[in-house]
């Protein structure tokens, strides 16, 4: 039985999971690859790789309107992937799922279509200090185009969570939209997006959740959250690159204009006019990323096979274990919620080491076959202005990581201390 065939509550057998990921039996710099950079992109199980390969080998054809067997099959598989994703995040139907390239494009679509029509001069747009560039820049661009005001919810005193007072204060300005991350890619903080959405709705704001770091790692139910938009990337949840989605409530999407015109997004075209296709196709001009949809479909099957609650529990356990070990190391500072607040922390550990630059830290990890990330993690305002450092090192865990991988990271920190002669 493969690791993905049991969705009952159970501990994840990581040794079985690892076998499903071909890359994890390869080497990096002559050492077993220890992959601790899943917040950047996840590795892919053989089930996803095979699904894509199988599509190209056995039923590659363009979707929609092909009156032959393999085109019908490709259309069916592609559409089925939307049904699966809709169910996976608790949307009502596939009509609320617009495929895009990634989370960034999903947020840009919301800003360009919904934002363009609904945000005017002097209006407020509200985001937070813990956003990724993908949830900052599209709103800066919209604010610049429209003469709108971009406001930020501040972080609390220990810079581990959003400051509730700041949130209330900013909402008093009646922003048109609140765009907030579900889980921070730097701090690991999981925001209570359900409560935030309720507060924002009370003020009449539309709410967009950046789910890039939550959707792969924990159960997500957009209807329970109550948000209007939810953005996600396939490549961070075991799927291929180039496929992501914007969930939108049906009435919102129905009222929005497409930003790209072309084939597939139309119902009919005359020499001067055209009419739009039904949801969600009106937002998807041109030939779709068919292999992406099929690969994402296989990824969702894999995640469902293990169970999102099990994945979340497993990551909390490995993250807590790593934090306990790292917490005892002198000169090492971790960011985000502390070990007593694991309920609001994802499997991301950003840290600094006194006397060693994050790039040197990552390099020494690399020499030992361990992949971590160092830099500003596409969150320059958070890292530089709020945390007050140029860069941090980041470890991030997923289903294929276990305590041995955490130990490897802890050992590598020891090596950093040895190389830089740190006490």
């Amino acid at each position: 039985m493969s690791a993905a065939e049991n969705s009952e509550q159970h501990d994840i057998d990581v040794s079985l999971v690892k076998k499903d990921f071909p890359i994890l039996s390869t080497q990096m710099n002559g050492k077993r690859l220890v992959y601790l950079d899943s917040a950047a992109t996840s590795q892919k199980p053989v089930q996803v790789i095979d699904a894509i390969s199988n599509y190209y080998r056995t039923f590659n054809a363009n979707i929609h309107r092909g009156i032959y067997k393999i085109s019908e099959q490709a259309t069916e598989e592609y559409t089925k992937s939307k049904d699966k994703l809709a169910e996976f995040i608790g949307a009502k139907s596939y009509q609320e799922i617009v495929y895009v390239r990634n989370t960034t494009e999903a947020i840009n679509l919301a800003a360009l279509s919904w934002g363009e029509a609904n945000v005017n001069k002097g209006d407020h747009i509200l985001i937070t200090q813990m956003e990724h560039h993908s949830n900052i820049v599209p709103w800066q661009m919209l604010a610049q185009r429209k003469g709108a005001v971009l406001d930020y919810v501040a972080l609390n005193g220990d810079r581990s969570a959003l400051d509730q007072e700041s949130l209330e204060k900013q909402l008093e300005k009646n922003p048109k939209i609140l765009a907030v991350t579900h889980a921070s890619n730097v701090l690991g903080t999981i925001n209570d997006v359900k409560a935030i959405t309720r507060k924002a709705h009370d003020r009449g704001a539309v709410v967009l959740i950046d789910g890039a770091q939550s959707c792969p790692h924990m159960p997500v139910d957009v209807r329970d959250i109550g948000c209007d938009f939810f953005a996600l990337s396939g490549h961070k949840m075991l799927g291929p690159t180039g496929i992501g989605a914007l969930y939108g409530k049906r009435d919102l999407l129905a009222a929005m204009e497409p930003i790209f015109g072309g084939g597939d997004m139309i119902r009919s075209v005359g020499f001067q006019t055209h009419t739009w296709n039904d949801l969600p196709w009106k937002f998807e001009a041109g030939t779709s990323n068919i292999e992406g949809g099929i690969g994402l479909s296989a990824a969702i099957d894999y995640l469902n096979g293990i169970g999102m609650k099990n994945i979340r529990r497993h990551e909390v356990e490995v993250t807590r274990y790593a934090m306990e070990k790292l917490g005892g190391i002198r000169g090492l500072k971790m960011y985000g919620p502390d070990i007593d607040h694991m309920e609001s922390r994802g499997g991301v550990i950003s840290f600094s080491m006194e006397g060693a630059h994050p790039h040197d830290v990552a390099q020494i990890f690399d020499d030992r076959g361990i992949a971590i990330r160092a830099g500003h993690h596409c969150a320059m305002p958070l890292v530089e202005d709020v945390l007050g450092v140029g860069a941090v090192s980041r470890i991030s865990f997923y289903i294929y990581n276990d305590k041995n991988d955490a130990d490897a990271a802890v050992d590598a920190v020891g090596e950093v201390k040895r190389v830089f002669k740190l006490q």
Binding site: A356, H357, P358, H359, D360, Q363, I364, D367, A374, G375, H376, E384, G390, A391, V419, F420, K421
Partner: protein
């Protein structure tokens, strides 16, 4: 990568100070990792009489900047302009790979821009 010599230059850098009477200076940074430095030069008879630097960054960028201050001294501005990544690799005695080479050459790029401004009479 982290030979004793690199660590020694990183921990005890040579010529790491702000040169108040510099003929020219140039500030540069590496947006990927946040390394930043300013290079100062004193030029006499078209030769680098003295080079110093200030900055924050990784061991590779700081050690190579420090080593460069010694290598550059006495070289003509033409010689400085002809230097490239291969010279930096020779200087630090390790090939840091395609990503880290940008850290290693940050100081050389800044030095070359300072020299360019000196030659063309442009100032910050």
């Amino acid at each position: 990568m982290y030979a004793e010599e690199i660590i020694a230059y990183y921990e005890h850098p040579e010529n790491k100070y702000k040169m108040d009477d510099a003929d020219d200076s140039y500030s540069d940074f590496n947006p990927v990792c946040g390394d930043k430095l300013t290079v100062y030069i004193k030029v006499k008879d078209d030769k680098i009489e003295k080079m110093s630097f200030e900055g924050d960054g990784c061991a590779i960028s700081m050690a190579s900047a420090s080593m460069l201050t010694e290598v550059a001294e006495g070289k003509s501005v033409d010689e400085i302009e002809k230097m490239g990544p291969a010279d930096v690799i020779k200087m630090i005695k390790v090939d840091p790979g395609p990503v880290r080479i940008k850290c290693a050459t940050l100081s050389l790029r800044a030095l070359q821009k300072a020299v360019f401004m000196y030659k063309h009479g442009k100032r910050d």
